[in-house]
Subunit: 258 residues, 2 copies
């Protein structure tokens, strides 16, 4: 089984609220169908979630009354993105079923406190593709907070021990520096946990309440410590996702599990 | 607390797939806001759910392979309706939060086998309006089946013992015969469980996998046996929902709890 994370920056324009990149998600759906693997899909919230979550300070937990409306709005807006993602999957005969994180897990001061793995197992057993996503969720300590897609990947990887974890991002993989601002940045095609620990990525400059690439590196380290390879690939380049899912060579970064 | 069921036939055109009656739902949202009561909202799936569910025989459980895609499609389509309902609520400052039934409950041969009441309680405590809906769900015996909005009402009423249960339908209330086909049908404004037990409604002629009015009568009887009043009112007539929520007189049917 493969845990596949599709970044919010790949399927939305992160600086423009509610702009969905339908053709990108359609292409990715075709490649998922073609690869025909057992998959749990996690997608980011992109501009459907981050802009509202930031406006209402939702990751701080409950601090003021207008956040109740803000939380509701954000949640519905991420559900809107999720429905668009499901549409692309279904048009390509990938039977995605939405598992909204706030009903399957709870956080406590930003950390996972409980999760219903069984519903993922049941849908997998029946040959569905469980689809979950970064979203606002209840938090025992804070009232509510944000569950990032990356936290979901880490949690699900720990439980399901997939054959690999795949991150579809808007770069070709991991670079020695932030390629958006540094022309000398070099793509790393095959790295170990040790390489990663020396490597400090320049933080993503986009509005992202979930820390962008910085947070992702921590997740990848956790996955590597489980002995599982992580692959990062560019979702805007046709064919790469299929090649990675099918175990074929393509341009990407592989972070080796220990 | 009030459990409020808004029928699929009120907010969709049940004979035409995916036709949402936005102005009706907007009016109802305004009245919910104005009444300012603690509410759990349940809505039907209407033409967003029933047409696909029937096409793929989803209430029979798993009998053939194409149902996997059919289930996914139906679920996403009901989620689409739910997002439209949430939009109307949010535009009127009602903080609805979606609780997708397949993640909060399980059925076993069409009967409830488990449900997470806690998440409803937690959202109520934080002054949200939990919103759930008729949808496809997993079924321990059948693989999957349908959880009707009416089953949700019955289950939630039994647990939460609300001050009343309100059904928003597309008629003025309960009639002595089916008012759609019988001109002599008379509206019953105040009835007891005994009256209801003598009363046999002509089955709803619309395409509805969840039995239409026939199934609703059984639910209302269960609610009455809990000692709780049920009110049925016409969602197309402005003001009636507000009056019922606020405990004022209006045209409707009240079924008295025992």
């Amino acid at each position: 089984m493969i845990i596949l994370k599709i970044g919010g920056s790949v399927i939305t324009n992160k600086t423009k609220q509610n702009s969905f990149k339908q053709s990108v998600m359609s292409n990715l759906s075709k490649e998922i169908k073609k690869a025909n693997k057992e998959i749990i899909l996690v997608h980011g919230a992109g501009s459907f979630g981050h802009i509202l979550a930031k406006k209402y300070d939702l990751n701080k937990g409950y601090v003021r009354k207008d956040q109740i409306n803000g939380y509701s709005l954000t949640h519905a807006n991420v559900q809107r993105l999720n429905t668009l993602v499901l549409d692309c999957l279904h048009k390509n005969n990938v039977p995605g079923v939405s598992l909204s994180p706030h009903t399957v897990l709870k956080l406590s001061n930003h950390k996972l406190s409980e999760i219903n793995y069984r519903i993922f197992e049941e849908y997998l057993k029946s040959h569905f593709v469980p689809v979950t996503f970064g979203d606002v969720v209840l938090d025992e300590k804070l009232g509510f907070s944000i569950c990032s897609g990356d936290l979901l990947v880490s949690t699900l990887a720990e439980h399901f021990r997939p054959e690999k974890v795949v991150f579809v991002i808007d770069e070709d993989g991991l670079y020695t520096a932030n390629p958006k601002i540094n022309k000398n940045a070099k793509l790393m095609d095959d790295v170990t946990l040790k390489d990663l620990e020396m490597f400090t990525t320049a933080m993503d400059s986009h509005a992202d309440v979930t820390r962008g690439m910085g947070g992702k590196i921590d997740i990848i380290k956790n996955v590597a410590r489980l002995g599982i390879d992580t692959v990062l690939l560019n979702g805007n380049k046709p064919g790469r996702l299929y090649h990675v899912l099918a175990g074929k060579d393509t341009k990407c970064t592989v972070v080796r599990g220990l």
